[in-house]
Amino acid sequence: MKRVGLESSLAIAEAVRLAGVDVVSAYPITPQTHIIERIAQMVADGDLNASYIPVESEHSAMSGCLGAAAMGVRTFTATAGQGLELMHEVLPVASAMRLPVVMAICNRALSSPLSIWGDHSDIMAARDSGWVQMFAENGQQAFDLTLCAFRIAEDVEVLLPTAINIDGFHLSHVIESVLIPEQGEVDKFLPELPRPYVLDPRKPLTMGDFATPELYIEAKKSQDVALRNSKKVILQAWQEFEGVFGRRYSPVETYRADGASVLLLTMGSFSEVAMEAIDRLRESGEKVGLIRLRLWRPFPFEEFRQVASQADLLVVLDRAVSFGGPGPVCSEVQAALYPLSKKPQVAGFIGGLGGRDITTEGFEDMIRNARKKADAGRLGEVEIIGVRE
């Protein structure tokens, strides 16, 4: 294991190399290009023995991954924003056909107006695509979770496509120190797993058939159960990861949440900024803490409820708008809390859209603002923050 200075995009490319990916099918889009450029270079240099398909669109990028994954080989792509939107049609097919594609998404805002900068609008629109979805907060996590994604997706009990979300620019384009393991350590964690159903002339099978109303719902139930059950494997994979590399991941991670009456909930790279805000508020004696939602799908109901139910007030930051509705994460956590008898009030905020920064002070303001609203009994509607009036 060595510590190197590496852009997060390149850390992901490094994970792809160490995972010995067989097929990469990708299309360039900002802010994701650094990942696939680096992989293309690795292939060109012979450092990664993979077939790289330079497709003509993101729709074809994901379609190419489907074809390769159906052959039973390790498959990777990366995209962002509009690219994920163009792929959208293919995403639920990957999960329904149980094809374990791994994808890095450098989360980016959606047009219009055109914005190449970060927020979570792209992945929230793909929330229901049936993929395992997780969020990284820094370069190390981007690297680690990419390795874990292959281990999870290809597990015979899972066989589901898996997405690692990293914030566009705020994470994708930042160089920081990352621990890169040796090939032997990676091989130990990530052996080649058997694949039961693949396209092979020696054992012909039919994939992607047509179902009448008599069978469609059975197919969907089976798919939903598979995604829910994947959590067991995810927990196991993260445990194995800790065993080999010493770093621990959980579906819901907290920061100074013990005894907190107010909890802030964030996803992605802004979580580390939020930690700074929590430190400051704790120093001034406030009982505040942080929840970082690492696993977005399957939604970690148990873990989330266990942590969130202790607080009086939960402050949720969404980095996407569900126009005319609540923030997508906020509505989700509210639904998760609703059946509990003891549950916090929830204050929903939307911010950090299209690359707009949220500073430590911004998070402190958000928490104070939420408290004020709660005290005044005005928690009903979501508020978009940091907007110029």
Binding site: S57, S60, G64, L199, F210
Partner: protein, 310 residues
């Protein structure tokens, strides 16, 4: 004229790799073409299929008509999925886990090829993957109920370009997909028809054995959409060739060959008059079609002669 040997049973591969029990319409020219293609391909293939009639009629859960590995994902991405399957085969071959002789064959209708899937197809042909793409052209979106495509011929009535008080059906000329394939400078492009079975099967084998992309365009008579009696599917396919409406030719590394070259083309009317989709045509329109067919045919003959000159 292709001579049908008297001993067809001896020549024909017995094994049906496209199993009966499929739910194609009675007299389906496309199912017939698929059956012949599968006979020619043999077992060492992987089929990637677009959404469309052939997908719906052959893979209704829990049944499948396919005796070879088969995958369908979406409508417009067949060539892209095939690219991935080829890449996957390459990866497995590198590890000694698959044979490089396993051919990947993409199959799609005219809508999936000439309209919604043309981008993915162009990309895959340009990148030069080792695969065969077969377009089964029944000249409209038959699976959804006879809507026009860019491969629908001039004058044909469809449900989205119908004949009306002020309209006479399709008002554009059929998109020339084989020419678009040729423009990608791929090693092999050919047209075929199940009415000429051995020509068709020979072309399929040729495409299979060539390394790199090959494109086959097969005219598939659709009794339902063309409004023709189900027993005429083979006859109408033959008339398409005999009238010059659908010439059978090959383009090998840019070199054109006409495979069936009747001494004299029959009148297009012989072809048109059997089909309900053309029954509204005026003599002027038939004349216009005749002229266009002759001009296109002459263009093709010129290309053939040009290469013959070398």
């Amino acid at each position: 004229m292709e001579t049908l040997a008297l001993y067809v049973p001896r020549l024909l591969e017995k094994k049906e790799n496209f199993a009966p029990g499929h739910r194609a319409c009675s007299g389906c020219g496309e199912a017939l073409a698929v059956r012949m293609v599968m006979k020619a391909l043999g077992k060492n293939v992987i089929v990637v299929m677009a959404t469309g009639c052939m997908e719906i009629i052959s893979t209704q859960l829990p049944y499948t008509s396919w005796e070879v590995p088969w995958i369908h994902t979406l409508f417009e991405n067949t060539a892209a999925v095939a690219s991935g399957v080829v890449a996957g085969r390459e990866a497995l071959t590198r590890k000694g886990k698959a044979s490089s002789r396993t051919k990947v064959v993409a199959m799609a209708g005219d809508g999936a090829t000439a309209d919604i899937g043309v981008q993915a197809l162009s990309g895959a042909l340009e990148r030069g993957h080792d695969f065969t793409y077969i377009c089964f052209d029944n000249e409209a979106y038959m699976n959804t109920g006879i809507q026009r495509s860019s491969a629908t011929p001039f004058g044909a009535a469809t449900t989205t370009q119908p004949v009306g008080k002020i309209s006479m059906g399709q008002n554009t000329w059929k998109k020339d997909m084989p020419a678009i394939a040729v423009a990608h400078n791929i090693p092999y492009v050919a047209t075929a028809s199940p009415s000429y079975p051995f020509d068709l099967m020979n072309k399929v084998k040729k495409a299979r054995d060539i390394e790199g992309p090959a494109y086959l365009h097969i005219l598939s008579v659709c009794p339902t959409g063309w409004r023709t009696p189900s027993d005429l599917s083979v006859r109408i396919g033959r008339l398409a060739v005999e009238t010059g409406v659908f010439p059978l030719y090959e383009v090998e590394n840019g070199k054109y060959t006409l495979n069936i070259d009747p001494p004299q083309l029959r009148s297009v009317e012989d072809y048109l008059k059997l089909q309900g989709r053309f029954k509204h045509l005026t003599p002027e329109m038939i004349k216009e079609i005749q002229e266009k067919v002759e001009a296109k045919y002459a263009e093709l003959v010129e290309k053939v002669l040009f290469y013959d000159g070398f």
